[in-house]
């Protein structure tokens, strides 16, 4: 079975782009539209890596990460934060929330796959 990646982003554009880049790289992708939805998806999925946006309605990326880290089932999953904000403050907050790493938007597909490999050690 191929590696599963959960992407959480409220922007359809970004979800589509992630889907394209990740499926091209051979990953299986499951999607969620915000933090609340992401947690719902995690009830039935066991992704090897999670990629999440920060600014989202209902539950933002910080809240989502905190919740995942509290879950017995998923707390060891690597979480990459997608952010256009490259300032230290945002990264720091993501890290405090429990993010494993981050990707700066707009992302380059090669860089994205590199980051995934870096935190999970798995290729597609």
């Amino acid at each position: 079975m191929s590696t599963t990646i959960l992407t959480v982003d409220d922007s359809r554009t970004m979800r589509d782009m992630l889907m394209l880049a990740l499926t091209d790289a051979g990953y299986r992708v499951v999607q969620a539209e915000d933090g609340v939805h992401g947690l719902e998806v995690l009830r039935n999925e066991m992704p090897q890596v999670v990629i999440t946006d920060i600014n989202m309605p209902r539950m933002d990326g910080f809240g989502f990460i905190e919740n995942v880290r509290k879950s017995d089932k998923h707390r060891a999953v690597p979480i990459l934060v997608l952010t256009t904000e490259s300032d230290a403050e945002k990264k720091d907050r993501a890290r405090r929330a429990g993010a494993t790493g981050w990707i700066v938007k707009p992302f380059d597909p090669v860089k994205l796959v590199n980051a995934i490999r870096r935190v999970s050690g798995v290729a597609a």
Partner: protein, 726 residues
């Protein structure tokens, strides 16, 4: 490539949604709703546009969105208060952002000066000193994102060149000490992977320091005890080495020191990696597997026992908290819905036919066939309503274009306008919505250009300088009513009447009520602006608005109070597919009169009907004289005026509020009918709005009440002895 093009299309669609969200959010804040959620939604909208634009290298859009976002971030952070002035700037910025999106999509350009002016204005709000800080910040961000691309400069020095012949791996040697903290593992980072990444930079000698590892009994599986000392020989520089630790640099003790190149670094890399992996394995595997907490560890490590005791509880809470059902929507091709609506229309006709057969078959009301038919009717109506509900959409999609229009017209006319919108959630058929935009646009323009006075005049009249235009939608007795109300000077009736006389629209001696004068502005060829402004001008008058509203089966009316303002009200059917009608007989023909137009029905009495010369007659209804219109005569079914005594009169109200009595031969009943276009199937017939198919399969024409009344009134017009009074 195609996939990217599709995503780009999605991006532009999404942009439109975000822009709408942005505008309505800003307007909500302007209206005093400055809670954090609204501000966040506005911020997110701009942020999303920027994020997507970056992916497609739409640099203009990214640049402007960034400056906008920065200002919004200040508001979000409470550093900047959302004052009315700031909101004005932001609303205009939202317009520029919308233009930039459209320019990017359709290939146009946005006036540089306008963009720059607003960018500077935004920057002043957030930075305090012109556009410079924001520009710098943007540049800084750009640099940062380039750094993120992992372009690692390769250092080539003369030393390297000299050296390269001897040892291919030679370059820099770094002594790295890496002591992960417990937090590193808690965030799912993995020392093994980091060491592997580091090894990939060159050749590495990795030594694991286990000195701090406690005895098994005292070992906390979630604690970090291992320290790695790495000697790395690489061509890369220190920055590249540190970059490997980018994600973890706050969760470990890390030292990177440049050392002299070693004499001989002949190390078996594979063995080293294996060794490192093995060394790292126990430390990283255990936290990952900590969920089914091993009992000895739990017993021996109280801190951990407490922690794992906490987890199920927290997890349970989380699960309960996320039991929110996501709203599911599907996108359906409109053609399919229309096809369904058409089929339901046919079903309604068929059911009417079936009803007719059952009646003809002389089955009693209580027969099983009749009862089954009743149930079928119930079902049909429900199906029909459900199909209509699919097509129904909130008027918001049209309303949300209006604030921008209002701002633009206000700027052009030098007036200050506050547009208040109500009832944007009111739903109406999609077709109606699409055709609502033009009349509404014109009505808003008209309200600002002609309705509101200049700030000076307003001040002189003791009003606030800012004029108010209220746009509202509501459901009222099976129709949607949309009102555009201004608090301007109201209609200058003397002037309107004079213009109408000058243009030969009414006789000079016409006696008109206030209402009738107000309604003159709907006459073709009437325009109150003495100079045609480029706002309300464009050759479009209120008569065109009236015609497009009528084409939708709607009515438009005006009420005006001098000094207080004018209100235009459009009343439209909720759907263009079905109509509640009164089925009547006129000269052996079956006709349908829209029920919405009918106020009451009555039996004319001899004493109430009075001749007015020619064929014109009026009927007295509760102390008022109302023109009596013989439908049969107007539609040329007969030439002689019919005798009212043996017939029925339908008291109808036209869009102007004028009342007339339509004379018909008999009333058959009230029925919901499916509207079929006569124009599409046959041709336009004056006085007829459309057609429908009755239960017996015959076609019945639907009467256009206003047209019939106007036609009858036209006859009166030609009579020189009478004013145009209705």
């Amino acid at each position: 490539m195609d996939a990217m093009a599709a995503i780009k299309q999605t991006f532009f669609q999404e942009c439109e949604e975000q822009l709408a969200e942005l505008e309505s959010g800003l307007l909500a804040i302007e209206g005093g709703q400055s809670d954090l959620e609204t501000i966040n939604a506005v911020f997110r909208a701009v942020h999303s546009v920027k994020g997507g634009a970056g992916a497609f290298h739409l640099d203009d859009l990214v640049g402007f969105a960034h400056i906008f976002e920065t200002t919004l971030d200040h508001v979000r952070g409470g550093k900047l208060a959302p004052t009315p002035e700031l909101l004005k700037t932001m609303l205009r910025s939202a317009d520029v952002l919308a233009d930039l999106v459209r320019a990017a999509r359709d290939g146009g350009t946005v006036e540089e000066g306008r963009k720059k002016a607003l960018a500077d204005e935004l920057a002043r709000w957030s930075g305090g000193s012109g556009g410079a800080p924001a520009a710098e910040e943007a540049a800084a961000e750009e640099e940062d994102s380039l750094a993120g691309l992992n372009f690692v400069p390769i250092q080539i020095t003369e030393d390297d060149v000299d050296f390269s012949g001897a040892a291919p791996d030679a370059g820099n040697t770094f002594k790295v000490s890496f002591k992960p903290h417990r937090a590193l593992y808690a965030k799912a980072n993995d020392a093994t992977l980091i060491l592997r990444e580091l090894s990939s930079l060159g050749t590495a000698e990795i030594v694991c320091d286990e000195s701090q590892l406690p005895k098994l009994g005292e070992l906390d599986p979630e604690e970090a005890y291992l320290i790695w000392n790495i000697t790395l020989n690489t061509e890369k520089d220190e920055q590249a080495v540190r970059e490997v630790f980018e994600f973890v640099d706050t969760d470990c003790d890390l030292t990177v020191e440049k050392a002299d190149p070693p004499g001989a670094a002949d190390v078996d890399i594979a063995a080293l990696i294996r060794q490192a992996t093995e060394a790292a394995a126990p430390a990283e595997a255990e936290p990952a597997a900590a969920a089914p907490a091993p009992t000895p560890a739990a017993a021996s490590a109280p801190a951990n026992a407490a922690a794992s005791g906490d987890h199920p509880a927290a997890g349970g809470k989380g699960d309960a908290g996320i039991a929110v059902t996501a709203q599911t929507t599907i996108r359906v091709d409109l053609d399919r819905v229309d096809r369904l609506a058409d089929l339901v229309g046919e079903l309604v006709i068929n059911q009417a036919m079936l009803a007719q057969r059952i009646t003809e078959g002389n089955h009693g009301k209580a027969s099983s066939a009749s009862v089954a038919l009743d149930e079928l009717e119930q079902l049909t109506r429900e199906i029909q309503e459900s199909v209509m509900a699919i097509r129904a959409q909130p008027v918001k999609s049209v309303f949300q274009r209006m604030p921008r229009l209002a701002r633009e017209v206000a700027t052009l006319t030098g007036k200050s306008v506050r547009l208040i919108m109500d009832g944007e959630g009111t739903e109406v058929d999609k077709t109606v919505i699409e055709r609502l935009a033009d009349p509404l646009t014109h009505m808003i323009r008209n309200a600002i250009d002609h309705g509101l006075e200049s700030p000076e005049k307003r001040r002189a009249a003791g009003k606030s300088e800012e004029g108010t235009v209220r746009l509202s939608a509501m459901h009222r007795s099976g129709r949607i009513v949309i009102e555009v109300a201004d608090d301007g000077a109201g209609i200058n009736r003397a002037r309107v009447k004079q213009i109408a006389i000058d243009k030969g629209l009414i006789p000079a001696d016409a006696q008109l009520t206030d209402d009738e004068v107000d309604n003159l502005i709907f006459l073709p060829g009437f325009s109150t602006a003495s100079t045609v402004s480029n706002i309300s001008g464009r050759g479009v008058g209120m008569d065109v608005v009236k015609r497009s509203v009528q084409a939708l089966g709607g009515r438009i009316s005006i009420t005006s109070v001098p000094g207080k303002g004018s209100t235009f009200a459009m009343s439209l059917p909720l759907t263009l597919a079905v109509l509640d009608g009164m089925v009547v007989t006129v000269a052996d023909q079956t006709l349908v009169v829209p029920l919405t137009a009918i106020v009451e029905t009555l039996q004319p009495k001899q004493a109430d009907v009075h001749g007015m010369g020619g064929d014109s007659r009026v009927i007295a209804i509760r102390d008022r004289f109302v023109p009596l219109v013989d439908v049969g005569q107007v539609l040329s079914y007969r030439y002689e005026a019919a005798d009212p005594m043996t017939r029925v009169a339908l008291l109808v109200e036209t869009e102007g509020g004028a009342r007339n009595a339509l004379l018909v031969d008999a009333i058959q009943g009230q029925r919901q009918v499916v509207i079929k276009s006569l124009e599409a199937n046959y041709g336009r017939v004056p006085g007829i709005a459309g057609a429908t198919i009755l239960g017996d399969g015959r076609v019945a024409l639907i009467v256009d009440v206003d047209a019939v009344v106007a036609d009858a009134r036209g006859d009166v017009y030609r009579d020189p002895g009478l004013a145009m009074a209705s």
